[in-house]
Amino acid sequence: MRIKFLPILAHVLAIIAVLPLLWIVISALKPAEDVFDFGWPSSWTLGNLQYVLLKIPMPRFMLNSAIVSITVTVVALFFHSMAAYALARLRFPGRGLIFSGIMSTLLVSLPVILVPLFLVAKQLGLLDSYAGLIVPSIFHAFGIFLLRQYYLNIPRELEEAADLDGCGYWRRYWSVILPLSRPALASLSVLFFLANWNAFLWPLTITRNPDLRVIQLGVSGMQGQYASAWNLILAAAVIAAIPTVVVFVAGQRRLVDAMKTTGLK
């Protein structure tokens, strides 16, 4: 009996979990005066979404976020896989020390080092620029850790076959390891993209040029300018969330698989 009961429970809980999100989507499609009505809307409108897309530089915000998120993701995956390759498969003095050093940076999160990081960014001339949005966001030990776990599990013979052909380390990394790590990279790219698309605190701190505003700042700023217009604010929130949902749905299977294969535990 319980076997029948549990899946039903799971479905019910799942609906409850997404209900708040669903409610927001529905509310964003209501006319302004109905936004607090508890019932099913009497009429639907795309006007809110239209307004937000056309009257507010929402496309510009999204473009900025896309530029930043994609660049960070690509560069970070490249750097992290290189570092992870060295840590997982090469022998060198100080490996253990460097690895624990990298891991210990996981203890430090952005809000805690915000002020000094700001000072560093200022010294490097990164204030108010795409570089300022991108460069400091690239480096994070989490990706190195996951990729290293993944590389530890790649059979050594594969790499050694390449070695016999007289390949250098770069070739081994580039033509053996990198292609083999495609699934792990794909799933990490989902995580990285989400994290950067959703970033708020760092962009808020490092930029002030309106042309550099990323989507989360745009949505947050809506609250000030259109305080009374919940219908518009919610429409902006929905638009900001669409790319993340799309990326997640597209990469969902990879995400679950990768968490398993990379041995995250």
Binding site: F118, D128, S129, A131, V135, R208, N209, P210, G224, Q225
Partner: protein
């Protein structure tokens, strides 16, 4: 004072060496070092929605740029980011503050004590100085030097919804004059979807600003003659009044929209029947809720109290460490202080057409009166009855603001004993004043 501490030098060397390639994309903004272009940061324009206030800013700057070598360039920062204080702060921390910017009384001393405010005196004509209403320039002066020109006067008052009163079977005769009446009337106005009265609930400079009138009504003040005076019956009763509105469940614990200053979201939406807010709300309602019927009354008073309101208002200031502080001062004096016909008209537009304020200058008031701007309704009440009872918003530094803010929050929302809260705040302010060395606090 170590202007260039060793850590700074150290970090420049190591960091730059380590990541030489990093600055290649850095912004080219603000690089014009010849003092021919001044940046002007503000939260009005050019904005995304390009409303009338944005247009006023853009037109004003265009006018200046047509006739002057030193150009001014507007930079718009959304109000929320500007008011939260992070944007300006980060800019000044990095030595890249704007040349001209807007400042509220609450921020005045911090920037003055940071030595970044430019004396506007030499750019300002005697005629122009004499045109300002008494007290306004003094509130932005230290030792007789003027550091900011006010662009507006924004008194606070109580707004009420005529519809809500009618629905509750109340008439104009029921409009509250005392705190007790306010509580009683609010009770009748409170319903399933509506609160009877509303004060700001979100912590911040704005909340303090809206609370001071109730303190002043009982002749209280946080600081008198350079000494702390917050632990007073006036403070206790004012804290208690706001607390009562929450305890009696006639006021919301959390406002809608942008909070207490946002009349459209609260009073206008029917969520509150009475709301304390500023004169700017007249223009907001005009623009966003044309058919909404409302009225304005002075702040209700405690027994034996005297009428009081707080006169807010932002000012233009120039950065003394900017690219060309003298030119920036000239621009400000021209933009807000010109006494020629065009200057007065520009001010009239700002104060009565694109926005609703009490004009800070006599000649502008006269020009506005000639156009009948204050002949009737809410604005008439503001100018003739409410503003004369007001005092300029005090320029408390953060260390004085914060204890008061904590006291208000604790009493209003956390049922703390007002006497204890007032004493606590007084203690903290006292500790601060003992070591404070900046310009006089008023």
């Amino acid at each position: 004072m170590a202007a260039t501490p060793s850590p700074a030098r150290l970090r420049r060397r190591t960091v730059l060496g380590a990541l030489a390639a990093a600055p290649l994309l850095s912004a080219c903004d603000g690089s014009a070092g010849d003092g021919k272009e001044l940046s002007f940061w503000n939260f009005y324009g050019p904005s995304d929605d390009q409303g009338p206030q944005s247009k006023w800013f853009v037109a004003m700057v265009d006018e200046w740029n047509k006739n002057n070598d030193v150009k001014v360039k507007l930079r718009y920062i959304p109000g929320k980011d500007y008011l939260n204080g992070t944007t300006l702060q980060t800019a000044f921390q990095s030595g890249q503050g704007p040349d001209i910017f807007l400042i509220s009384p609450g921020d005045f001393l911090r920037y003055y004590n940071g030595n970044v405010l430019q004396d506007l005196g030499s750019a300002l004509s005697a005629e122009s100085k004499a045109d300002y209403l008494p007290g306004l320039l003094e509130a932005r002066s230290v030792d007789g030097k003027v550091y900011g020109l006010p662009m507006e006067i924004e008194p606070l008052a109580m707004y009420y919804s005529e519809t809500a009163f009618e629905k509750a079977g109340l008439s104009e005769a029921d409009l509250p004059k005392t705190w007790d009446q306010t509580l009683a009337v609010a009770e009748k106005l409170t319903g399933k979807d509506r609160y009877g009265v509303m004060f700001e609930t979100l912590p911040g400079y704005y909340q303090n600003f809206t609370w001071y009138p109730f303190l002043w009504q009982g002749d209280g003040a946080p600081i008198k003659d350079g000494k702390v005076a917050f632990d007073s019956s006036a403070a206790v009763q004012a804290l208690k009044f706001w607390q009562d509105t929450i305890q009696h469940k006639v006021a919301p614990r959390k406002a809608l929209g942008d909070g207490g200053g946002d009349v459209v979201s609260n009073l206008g939406s029917g969520a509150a029947a009475m709301q304390q807010s500023g004169i700017w709300a007249v223009a907001d309602l005009r623009a966003k809720a044309k058919n909404f019927k409302y009225g304005v009354i002075p702040h209700p008073m405690p027994d034996g109290g005297r009428p009081a309101t707080d006169l807010g208002g932002w000012a233009f200031v120039a950065n003394s460490k900017g690219k060309n502080p003298e030119a920036a001062a000239k621009f400000i004096a021209w933009a807000l202080g010109s006494t020629d016909a065009a200057g007065i008209e520009r001010q009239r537009q700002w104060n009565t057409v694109v926005k609703t304020n009490v004009p800070p200058r006599k000649s502008v008031q006269a020009a506005a009166d000639a156009k009948g701007a204050f002949d009737d309704g809410a604005l008439k009440k503001f100018v003739s009855e409410i503003a004369p009872t007001g005092k300029p918003e005090p320029r408390f530094p953060p260390e004085v603001y914060q204890p008061i803010a904590d006291a208000i929050q604790a009493c209003q929302l956390n049922a703390t004993d007002p006497a204890k809260a007032a004493a606590d705040a007084a203690g903290r302010i006292d500790t601060f004043l003992k070591t404070y060395q900046g310009a006089p606090i008023s």
